[in-house]
Symmetry: C2
Subunit: 487 residues, 2 copies
C-alpha cells in the first residue's frame, strides 16, 4: 500500500472512530426523544451487509438496538402478507432496528424466481412505498442502504467462502443462483431502487471498500439522527389519494325500521349458519384469509352479532380479537403495528371487535392523537386494507347502527337488569353525550374508507334479529364469491 | 330407538342446555374474578375432539374464549422447547383457552415415532407435571379431558371420512398410522395419563356417545368453575424439591479485590473476544441455544459487561432482552410467561439484562407478589431452567457484584457527570437504602437456585475490567464444552 493510501486509510479510520463515538453519545437523546430508527441494509450476496452492520453497532449499547434478518419464506409456505415479518419487527420508540436485508430482497428474489407475477410485483412496490411513508409519517427515521459489489468481485468472494471449510456453509444455493444471474439481478435492483427511492432515498455504498462504506453509512446515520433530533418528532401531513370509493349514505338518512319476526329469524338463521359453516371449510382449504371488522354504537348489538357469525365456524379456524385501548408497548410503535401483529394466517377467519378505525373515532374525538394523525389515517387505512386484499384477504367492515332512542332504552335495560349491569359503564354515558360529534366523525369515516376492495356495510340494528341475518348474508355472499374466484 | 332411550336422550339434552346457560351466566364472574381457565382436550384421531369443543363453546361470548391447536412440529424442525407453543398460548386472566390436543399428543406421538428417546420422553413427562402444577399454583383452572373411542369405532369413522370427498382431506397420514398402531397408542396414552394424572386428574369421556360426552364435559367444567369462584384465586404453597445444588458463598464473604491492569485487560479481551466469535459460529451451526442471565447491583457494570460479550457475536445470531417491569398483558398471565415468549431459537444467543429472578428480589421486597408466590418461585425457576437445559440450552447466570462503597462512588460519579446522569434514578437511591434486605434475598436466591445445569457465577466487579474478563472466560468455557458434547 502506498504512503498516500495508508494515510487515506488512517484518516477514514479516525473518522469512523469519531462518528461512532458521536453515535454512542446520541443513544440517550434518541431514547429521551423517543425517536424510532430503522436501518435497512440491502445488497448483493457476499457484499458484506453483516460486517457493515457490525461496524455500525460496535459501540452501541446492545439494549438500544436489534438486528433482524427476516427469513425469506418460499411464497407457497407463507401464510401472511409479504410485509408482515418486516412490519412485525419495527422498533419501538427510542430504539434502532437494523434489517439485515428486508423487503427489497424479498420482492426482487420472488419476482426473479417467478414466484409472483409482474402484476403482483408492481403491487408490492406500491405497498413498499406506502409502508415506508407510513413509517416516516409516524415519526420513524428510515435509512436505506444498498451495499454494492460488481460481478467479478462477487464471484471472487463466493469462491473464497466456498474454498474454506469453515465458511462454505455460508454460501447458499440462492447465492450461487444470484451469481449466475448477476445481470438480471442488477437490472431488478436498480429498477426497484428507482421505483422506491423518491420519498426516502436509497444510498448505494461501495462494498469493495469496506472502510469507506462503513464511514459513509455512519455519516449518513449520524447526520440523519442529528437532524431528526433537531427537528423534533416528525408527523406527516394529511394527503390526497384516489381510492375507488363506494358511495355511502349519511347515518341520519338510514331507515332503521327493518325487522324480522321470530319465526323468519329462526328459520333463516339456521339455514344461513349451516351455509356459513360449509363455506368455512372451503375457505380453510383454499387458504383464503378472512377479516371481519365490527364497529358500532355502544349497545348496538355487536357482541350478539359476532356470536351468530362465530357459532357455525370451526373453532380451530377463527379468532375473535377484542380491541381495547393500546398497551404501552403498542403505543410505542406506529399505530397499525398492533393490527399487523394480529392478522390471521391465510385460511383463517379473524373477527375484529373494534378495529384500527379507533384512530378516526375515539382517538380523534378524545385527542389521543394529533389532527394530522387522524386526518392522515383515512388514506393510511385504505392503503393498509388494500395490502390485505392484495394478499388475498376478504375484508368486510360492519357499522352496527341504532338510533339514540334505542340506545337509551338498551342502556336503561342494562342498568335495571343485574346480569347486564357490567355491560354498562360511565364511559358509555359519556360517549352518548358526544353522539353528534361521533356521528360526524363516523359519516366522514364511512365516506372516506368504504373502498371497493374493503367495503363498509351499515347494519340496521334497532332490530337485532334483522341485523344478524343481514350480516350473515353479506358474509356468505362475499365468501361464496371469493371461493369461486380462487382455484 | 326405544322409548326409554329417547327419554334418556331428551333428558341429556335438557341437562346440556341447563349447564350451557349456567356457564354462559358465569362468564362475567369469571372475568371479574380474573380466573384464567385452560381446557385441554386430548384423545384419539376422529374421536370428536373438535365437535366436543364446539358443544362447550356454543353459548359463550367469543371474546372470552379461544381455541388453539398448536401444530405438532417434526422434532428436526422445532427450534424451541417442546412446551413452548403450549406455554405461549396460555390465556390471560378471565379468559378460557381450549387446546384442541396439546402436550400429551405431542409427547406420545414423538415417542412412538422414535423422534425422542425413552429418556427424553421421561423428562418430558416430568416437565409436563411441572408445567401443570405451575399453572395451577399460579391460579389457573386446568381441566384435562381425553375423548376415547375403541379401535373398531375409530376404523369405522376414519373409513367414513375417507369415503366422502368433502371430508377425506381431514384424515392425515398420521391418523392412518395411529389406526394401524392402535394398541401401541392405547398403552402409551394410558401410561401417560397415569403418570400425569396425580396432581390434576384426567377425565376420560366416551367419544362413542356424543351427547353424554358433551354433558359430562360441561358438568366438569361448570362444577370446577363454580368451585374455583367460590374458593377464590388459588395460590400454591411453597414446596420442597431436591435439585443438584452447587454450594455458593455468601455475598459478604466474597473478596472484591481482584483487578486487572489495562494492558492485561486489553490483551485478554482481544484474545477472548476472538475466541467467542469463533464459538458463536459453531453454536449457530450446531443449533445450540444459549441463555445468558445478568443480574447485579445498580451501577455494578452490567451494561458494559454485556457489551463486551455482545461485541464479537454475529448480530444476526443474538439478542439482548432488557427486562423492565411487566406490562399489563404480562401481569395478566403466569409470571414466567413473559420469559417463555422471549426464549431464543436454537442456535441463537439470548442475553437477558435482568431476568425471571426479579420474582425473588424486587417483587419479593416491594410486595409485588405474595409470600407464597416468591417462596414457590425458587423451585419453579429451577424447574423452568431444567426444562431449558433438557431442551439443550446452555444456561449461565451472572451476579455482577460490588460493595456498597463502590456503588456510592459510582452513583456520585453519575450524578456529577452530565452524560451519565440519566443512568441514575431516584429508585436507585431507594434501592440502595434497602441493601441489607436485598443482600439477604440474594444470598437466599444464590443458595437455592445455583444448580449444576444452570449455575450462578458471582462476578467481582469492583474492577470492571476483571469482571468482564472473568465473564468472557466462563462463557467461552461453557460453550466449548457444549460444542464438544454435541454432534
Amino acid at each position: 500500500m502506498s504512503k498516500e493510501k495508508k494515510e487515506g486509510s488512517a484518516q477514514i479510520k479516525a473518522e469512523i472512530k469519531t462518528m461512532r463515538e458521536h453515535l454512542m453519545s446520541l443513544q440517550q437523546t434518541i431514547r429521551e426523544n423517543k425517536l424510532p430508527i430503522i436501518v435497512l441494509v440491502e445488497g448483493w450476496a457476499a457484499a458484506g451487509k453483516g460486517s457493515l452492520i457490525n461496524e455500525l453497532i460496535s459501540e452501541l449499547d446492545p439494549r438500544f438496538y436489534n438486528v433482524t434478518s427476516p427469513v425469506i419464506t418460499p411464497e407457497a409456505e407463507s401464510r401472511y402478507p409479504f410485509l408482515y415479518p418486516y412490519a412485525k419487527a419495527i422498533p419501538e420508540n427510542g430504539k434502532i432496528m437494523f434489517y439485515d436485508s428486508g423487503w427489497m430482497e424479498d420482492c426482487v428474489r420472488k419476482y426473479l424466481h417467478r414466484e409472483i407475477t409482474r402484476e403482483e410485483y408492481k403491487k408490492r412496490i406500491r405497498a413498499v412505498n406506502e409502508f415506508e411513508r407510513q413509517l416516516r409519517d409516524g415519526g420513524y427515521l428510515l435509512l436505506k442502504l444498498f451495499v454494492d459489489i460488481d460481478e467479478k468481485e462477487q464471484r471472487k468472494r463466493i469462491r473464497g467462502l466456498r474454498e474454506n471449510y469453515e465458511t462454505a456453509w455460508r454460501v447458499s444455493a440462492e447465492d450461487l443462483w444470484q451469481q449466475r444471474e448477476y445481470g438480471e439481478f442488477k437490472d431488478c435492483y436498480e429498477s426497484f431502487m428507482e421505483k422506491t427511492g423518491k420519498l426516502i432515498p436509497w444510498h448505494v455504498l461501495d462494498g469493495d471498500k469496506k472502510n469507506l462504506a462503513a464511514r459513509d453509512a455512519l455519516r449518513l446515520l449520524t447526520e440523519q439522527v442529528d437532524e431528526a433530533l433537531l427537528q423534533g418528532r416528525y408527523c406527516g401531513k394529511p394527503f390526497d389519494k384516489e381510492f375507488p370509493l363506494l358511495k355511502m349514505p349519511k347515518l341520519a338518512s338510514v331507515d332503521l325500521s327493518p325487522s324480522l319476526s321470530d319465526e323468519e329469524y329462526k328459520e333463516q338463521l339456521k339455514k344461513l349458519q349451516k351455509r356459513l359453516g360449509e363455506l368455512h371449510n372451503v375457505v380453510y382449504r383454499k387458504k383464503i384469509p378472512v377479516i371481519l371488522c365490527y364497529e358500532g354504537w355502544d349497545a348496538a348489538g355487536k357482541g350478539g352479532n359476532i356470536r351468530r357469525i362465530a357459532r357455525p365456524l370451526d373453532p380451530r379456524g377463527f379468532d375473535v380479537m377484542p380491541i381495547a385501548s393500546p398497551e404501552p408497548h403498542e403505543l410505542a410503535r406506529q399505530y397499525l403495528w398492533r393490527f399487523w401483529t394480529r392478522l390471521p394466517r391465510s385460511g383463517h377467519v379473524c373477527i375484529f371487535d373494534r378495529t384500527w378505525y379507533g384512530r378516526v373515532m375515539v382517538e380523534r374525538l378524545e385527542g389521543f392523537c394529533s389532527e394530522d394523525d387522524w386526518k392522515r389515517a383515512f388514506n393510511e387505512i385504505n392503503e393498509f386494507e388494500r395490502q390485505l386484499t392484495d394478499w388475498g384477504a376478504v375484508v368486510l367492515k360492519f357499522w352496527i347502527h341504532i338510533d339514540q332512542d334505542t340506545q337509551l332504552a338498551r342502556f336503561n335495560d342494562r342498568q335495571n337488569t343485574p346480569e347486564k349491569q357490567w355491560k354498562l359503564t360511565e364511559e358509555d354515558w359519556r360517549n352518548r353525550e358526544k353522539w353528534p360529534q361521533y356521528e360526524e366523525a363516523i359519516d366522514e369515516m364511512l365516506k372516506k374508507t368504504s373502498t371497493e376492495n374493503a367495503p363498509w356495510f351499515i347494519i340496521e340494528s334497532n332490530d337485532k334479529k334483522y341485523a344478524r341475518i343481514k350480516t350473515l348474508k353479506i358474509v356468505i355472499e362475499a365468501l361464496e364469491k371469493a371461493c369461486e374466484d380462487r382455484l
